[in-house]
């Protein structure tokens, strides 16, 4: 991970950033949006490196001393890439290892980014940077800022001190305060196409081609999700889950309850399991309209069989049941997870009206 080229399939955002570096018109606040695991944070770090790289041949880089057109380096073939970080100068290595004193990273502590963190940021920013030419503040998962923190950030986001850039990352602009979005230079990151996830999984991680194909499709364009799916033995889980769902009609009540218990016991994978159930239900519904569009398309045969044993109405009401369960679990309402899952499983198996 040294240059912009290490970020996958984000040609447009990177071209934008390179242009900005090249023109030396770096705004004081960026907002990177895109799905989780498409390289927002990596790009932010690389951008910080590019701003501060001393290994770059152009000594006056970013000091605003020279007009770019007059500089020899910019007359070469790909002038824009001259601004890429070298990756082995002092500053670059510090940033890479996360030791740079002027690259400030703010992450949620617990579920939120709290106002204390923003106040601490104010304190740091009120002083001059130690060594950086451009101080970079990376606030990841900005949607996690609670209202107080978000509002507290507003003033500094509008007019930060000299030579400081704030980079916020978030999934969607709609999760942020509109007053924050309006102060930032917004750059959208796209989901990574399944094909490139697939090929990287095969090349760099040594995956079997068919497993890579499923993961590529199921990761929804997020590379880190694909990796974590691999680690949690995701494919087997999915197959087991779908098998259980298919055999629901013939299962005893007691084994249904056992299934619910099994799901609820594993808190880490619970939300993932619910998403899987949703995707299964979705496929059953979508299969009736267009058999090409299903997500789990390695299990087409099973889905074809199952989709005929339910009406769309009942599938939709099951989908509602999953949604309700998700809401109850995420809603921090202190509900008994096992009970929620039992009710959900009963609903899915049509044993509860």
């Amino acid at each position: 991970m040294t240059g912009f080229e290490s970020v996958l399939d984000q040609k447009q955002p990177i071209r934008l950033l390179r242009t900005l570096l090249h023109k030396k018109t770096i705004p004081h606040a960026f907002l990177f949006t895109g799905m989780e695991g498409v390289g927002k944070r990596t790009t932010a770090a690389i951008f910080a490196m590019a701003c501060n790289c001393t290994g770059n041949k152009d000594e006056n880089f970013l000091e605003g001393g020279k007009v770019p057109g007059e500089n020899n380096h910019f007359k070469k073939n790909k002038p824009i890439q001259k601004n890429d970080p070298c990756g082995h100068c002092r500053s670059c290595r510090k940033i890479l290892s996360g030791n740079h004193p002027d690259i400030i990273r703010i992450e949620p502590s617990g579920p939120f980014i709290r106002i204390a963190q923003i106040r601490a940021l104010y304190h740091i920013l009120s002083m001059k940077p130690y060594e950086a030419r451009r101080r970079v503040v990376i606030i990841s998962e900005a949607q996690a800022m609670n209202p107080e923190a978000g509002n507290a950030l507003l003033k500094i986001l509008e007019e930060p001190p000299d030579q400081t850039t704030l980079i916020l990352t978030a999934i969607q602009t709609s999760d942020l305060l509109p007053t924050i979005v309006s102060r930032c230079h917004h750059i959208r990151f796209r989901p990574i196409p399944p094909k490139s996830i697939e090929s990287i999984l095969i090349e760099k991680q040594g995956f079997a081609p068919d497993a890579a194909k499923i993961l590529g499709k199921m990761a929804n364009g997020s590379f880190s999700k694909a990796l974590s799916m691999k680690q949690s033995n995701w494919v087997n889980r999915r197959n087991w889950l779908m098998h259980c769902l298919e055999s629901f009609p013939s299962m005893q009540i007691s084994s249904l309850l056992a299934f619910a218990e099994k799901l609820s016991r594993n808190k880490e994978t619970l939300s993932e399991s619910l998403e899987l159930i949703q995707s299964w239900l979705r496929d059953l519904i979508v299969y009736r309209y267009d058999s090409e569009k299903i997500i789990n398309n390695d299990l087409t045969e099973n889905i074809r069989q199952a989709s005929h044993s339910f009406t769309v109405q009942s599938l939709l009401s099951k989908m509602d049941a999953v949604q309700t369960a998700q809401k109850n679990i995420q809603g921090n309402t202190n509900l008994n997870v096992k009970l929620i899952m039992e009710i959900l499983v009963m609903r899915l198996a049509d044993r509860l009206c």
Binding site: N151, K155, S182
Partner: protein, 552 residues
């Protein structure tokens, strides 16, 4: 000095530069020139409409070396200091990060000191809505009667969060959203100064995307100018701003109205691949269906639908053969799904489900058509009044009544026996229960004990000459009624009542609920016995298995 974004670079420095907030600036200018400036002023309004800017200009105007003047010179020490944010007499406080009561106490400590070198000591509290309740209350006394050298200026986007007691002590100025035309005109000026060539249509596009906020518009313009290499084209702008292509929106609404699911899924996939925000897409679709509905209703379209003419044409084409009821149903369902889409971890999936739900609801008959049908039905009945009014007094041929029930398109089983029953005799109430009550009354005159048993029975489906009496309430009752003596009495009374010889058929009431309950109870008992720990232990110790469970 490092690069400044356009929104900061072109921040207005005098009242006359402020765009489209004349109602505020004119009032302030007049107040300054007539020396009637209030000591506490609140600016509220949407983001990017100039609240902080006007607050700063006001501070400059009040503290300018030439004395309070509507046109600050921007040259004197005070003006320059305020512009650079280093003035000792103008405090710009971030209300959101200094929101506790302690900070307000500190502020109160300091206000008693005179300004250093200007006329006024001015406190600008931005984002004032984030102050805590305690902080607001601590400010109340000072805000009402500050020393003569003090001025407070508050700015907020959310005036409704401010306590009413604070509001009543301030002069409040509401900023308006800036209309698209003013925004694009202002951007045109800036483009000229910056030497960037952008055509008017693109500017208008940016203005529309900004939603009435000048800062949004300038941020977007900044992005467009800085990121463009060479000429600035409209496609590039669309792409850069993440504006969802109108074609995608229209394709989706087309697919929904035509019930083309796979077309819809295709388009949605495409939108996702381009990295569009699903929630934004949802909002746009909601607006699209609103527009479809408004165009369909078709009054004052030009004013209500803010779209170019060719798009209205397009909409007209789409709604040609769709009823407005169907459209508003779609709108309803989309609206209901809002929470699901907004809070879902997989918004795409939620959106798909919303549309499948829509496809599930077939176009329904419009209400006016239903009313028309009902009207026609009523007319039928009026033309033939015997069928409804005469039922009680006259003998009505069952044919007519069936006609009536046929007209209701509800040929249910209840109508038929009733018709037959009515034809038996004139003095019979159509309701079975009523009839049965009358009979019981007759019985109770002579045989009160029998009547008591009969109250627990009910009349079932009387055929022409055969009454079926269902007895509920246990074995005792049925035994009492089945006694020959009692049956004879009943027959006599019924014959008298209906004016005809009548056969009686007495049946026992079968209660399916109770039967089921008994069965499940048995099953439960068996289950209980099987799962009893003692039994389980026994089975385990002796390695046996249960052959049968008998209930004692």
């Amino acid at each position: 000095m490092s690069y400044l974004v356009l929104a900061r670079k072109y921040r207005p420095q005098t009242f006359s530069e402020v765009i489209n907030q004349d109602h505020v600036t004119r009032t302030l200018i007049n107040a300054i020139s007539s020396k009637r400036v209030a000591h506490a002023i609140l600016f509220s309004g949407p983001r990017g409409t100039g609240k902080t800017t006007v607050a700063r200009i006001l501070a400059k105007a009040m503290n300018c070396q030439e004395g309070p003047t509507p046109i600050p010179c921007n040259e004197c020490r005070s003006c320059i200091e305020i512009t650079s944010g280093s003035s000792v007499d103008v405090f710009e406080i971030d209300g959101a990060s200094n929101n506790s009561v302690d900070q307000i106490r500190e502020l109160r400590q300091n206000i008693k000191y005179m300004p250093a070198h200007s006329l006024y000591k001015i406190y600008i509290i931005d984002e004032v809505h984030m102050l805590s309740i305690a902080a607001f209350n601590a400010l109340l006394k000072t805000l009402e009667e500050p020393p003569p050298h003090i001025m407070f200026v508050f700015a907020t986007t959310e005036a409704h969060k401010i306590p009413i007691t604070i509001l009543s002590r301030c002069q409040r100025y509401d900023f308006r959203r800036i209309d698209n035309e003013s925004i694009s005109r202002h951007m045109e000026n800036i483009c000229k100064k910056e030497g960037a060539a952008i055509d008017a249509e693109s500017l208008w596009l940016i203005a529309r995307e900004a939603g009435g906020s000048m800062r949004d518009a300038l941020s977007l313009l900044d992005q467009v100018i800085t990121s463009a290499e060479g000429a600035i084209e409209q496609d590039a702008i669309l792409n850069l701003l993440g504006v969802i292509d109108r074609k995608i929106i229209f394709d989706i609404s087309e697919a929904i109205l035509r019930g083309n699911m796979s077309g819809f899924l295709d388009t949605l996939d495409e939108a996702c691949r381009r990295g569009h925000d699903i929630k934004k897409l949802y909002a746009d679709l909601l607006e699209q269906f609103r527009n479809l509905l408004v165009v369909k209703i078709g009054k004052n379209t030009g004013k209500l639908v803010d779209l170019p003419a060719h798009e209205i044409e397009w909409i007209l084409d789409q709604v040609k053969d769709v009823s407005s009821t169907f459209l508003s149903r779609i709108f309803d369902i989309l609206f209901k799904e809002e929470a699901a889409i907004r809070f879902s971890s997989q918004p795409k999936l939620a959106l798909e489900m919303a549309f499948i739900r829509i496809l599930q609801t077939q176009p329904v008959l419009p209400v006016d058509m239903l009313i028309e049908k009902l009207d026609r039905l009523r007319d039928d009945i009026h033309n033939n009044p015997a069928s409804c009014v005469g039922a009680e007094k006259e003998t009505v041929s069952s044919g007519q009544i069936q006609d009536f029930s046929g007209a209701l398109s509800d040929p249910s089983g209840t109508a038929e026996p009733k018709a037959a029953f009515v034809s038996i005799s004139g003095n019979v109430d159509p309701d079975l229960d009523q009839t049965w009550k009358k009979i019981i009354d007759l019985v109770s005159e002579m045989h009160p004990s029998l009547a008591a048993s009969l109250t627990k029975c009910s009349l079932k489906k009387p055929a022409a000459r055969n009454l079926v009496i269902e007895v509920s309430g246990g074995e005792f009752n049925i035994k009492v009624i089945r006694r020959n003596k009692n049956i004879a009495i009943l027959k006599k009374i019924c014959s008298k009542f209906f004016g005809d010889a009548i056969d009686l058929d007495i049946i026992n009431h079968f209660d399916p609920d109770r039967e089921n309950q008994r069965k499940t109870q048995t099953a439960l008992l068996q289950q209980d016995a099987l799962s009893h720990p003692l039994v389980a232990d026994t089975m385990e110790i002796f390695n046996g298995n249960v052959v049968d469970v008998k209930i004692l």
